[in-house]
Symmetry: C2
Subunit: 245 residues, 2 copies
DNA sequence: AGCGGCCTTGCGGGAACCCGCAGCCGGTCG
DNA sequence: CGACCGGCTGCGGGTTCCCGCAAGGCCGCT
């Protein structure tokens, strides 16, 4: 069994290497990469089926890397090892995991024991292991209160990108009013109010305010914006090529 | 000489401790804290004058911690040790450093040598040491192109918070039109255009778009938003108490 | 069938936003 | 001193945003 480690911090990389070797005697080789792009390349070259991946790396982030690895080999087992349990990361991961694939999400603050256990569970037993704290944010995200649904999340990203209502409508195949309705729901769930007086002296611009609290609540972050921007670029190009109107 | 290390990652904390002891034989004690709040407390209790501080920690970030430490003892020497050279961090730091204070900014990706050199320069020689890469973003930030001035930056933060033009005007003591003029400059410098057609079918909402590219360019980030939100809260309370109108 | 809920869509209007035009003022330079 | 520049301000209008009201469609339940 070959294990690929993708992690840009040398200290963490070394620590991970030790843990992998200690937890998995059946591991024949540990391969190391320092960013997502290199990880993709090495995974392809070595035909690796077991990966430990950091999210949030400097040059190419872990979600991108995992996506292309999974696209090429959907049965690859990936353990995400991250500093944060931000909803943006959790959503980003759960959106790209292929059906039936075994994966894990463990925080860097977890104990040695927990990490080794997760390694064995995922790589040997083929089971999913989600850190309890991460599970927490996942739960919250689908709970009644503060729970942003998938469709709403799309629109939220769109306004975070700075799109117009009309553009969002075209992109998502909705009417203008529907987009605005969804925005209304988002404002509700994010508890965004006008601030002071309702009418002439509202303190907040709701749309901008919603983005602000979404960022503060870690629903969206830099990585998510980058990905969304790339998608948007694709769509804009496609729309310009064949504007079916 | 006592040195306080504020860093939430145990691996990095241990590494820092080793480096400090190796680089500074005159160091009599190394004290460790795992977040900004604890760092403030320990600095006060031990009367520490030499601090190594991580930015971006989970519970209370380094800029907050450094601010209160410096407020209590402006001659404290602080070395910031960070993963990133984002403009938001650089601005955040350079805004709180007291006049004449010695401080440093070194990236975690720097070599062992560089870290030790910086430790000696700052703590012993009382000199400022700014990582070259950080200097780079600092330069860029004040250069002609893409250079957001301090006043513009304030307004940028305000729209990122979701404030109305009118509210910004009140807060900053400007007329409505002046705020909008500044916004215009920001749009220019951030190269934010309407996207497709000028008039009825603009793809972008400029204000939201500006925030989006500001985040992607790392002019603002989560920590900066948190701080700005706290400031805003103070101002709102003050404005409600004595609305001089 | 009838009913109630949920989502979608259209309409209308008040507020906010984006921005060109123009006047005012303090500072700099020839 | 006059010319010029950059920043601040008011005015006006075109567009977008925010949102209440109401009508229609789909679905499940009684």
């Amino acid at each position: 069994m070959k294990v690929l480690i993708v992690e840009d911090d040398p200290l963490h990389r070394a620590y991970l290497g030790d843990s992998v070797r200690a937890a998995l005697p059946e591991c024949s080789a540990v391969i190391e990469a320092t960013d997502g792009a290199e990880g993709e390349r090495l995974a392809r070259e070595h035909g690796v089926a077991h990966v430990v991946m950091d999210l949030q790396m400097a040059r190419r982030n872990g979600i991108e890397g995992a996506r292309t690895i999974w696209r090429e080999r959907p049965d690859t087992r990936i353990l995400f090892w991250s500093n944060y349990s931000d909803e943006a990361y959790v959503r980003g991961v759960s959106r790209i995991v292929p059906p039936g694939a075994a994966y894990g999400y463990v925080l860097k603050s977890a104990s040695d024991e927990r990490l080794k256990l997760a390694l064995r569970s995922i790589f040997i037993e083929n089971q999913c292991v989600i850190d309890n704290e991460v599970r927490g944010t996942e739960q919250r995200s689908f709970a009644r209160t503060g729970g942003i649904s998938e469709v709403e999340y799309e629109i939220l990203i769109d306004i975070a990108l700075g799109l117009t209502d009309r553009t969002i409508a075209r992109r998502r195949g909705l009417s203008l009013r529907s987009v605005q309705n969804r925005l209304q729901q988002i404002y509700d769930k994010l508890e965004v109010h006008q601030g002071a007086g309702q009418g002439p002296d509202a303190a907040f611009n709701l749309r901008a305010r919603a983005v602000s609290v979404a960022i503060r609540r870690k629903l969206v972050n830099h990585g998510a914006l980058e990905r969304a921007e790339a998608d948007l670029g694709d769509w804009l190009a496609a729309a310009a090529a064949g504007p079916r109107r």
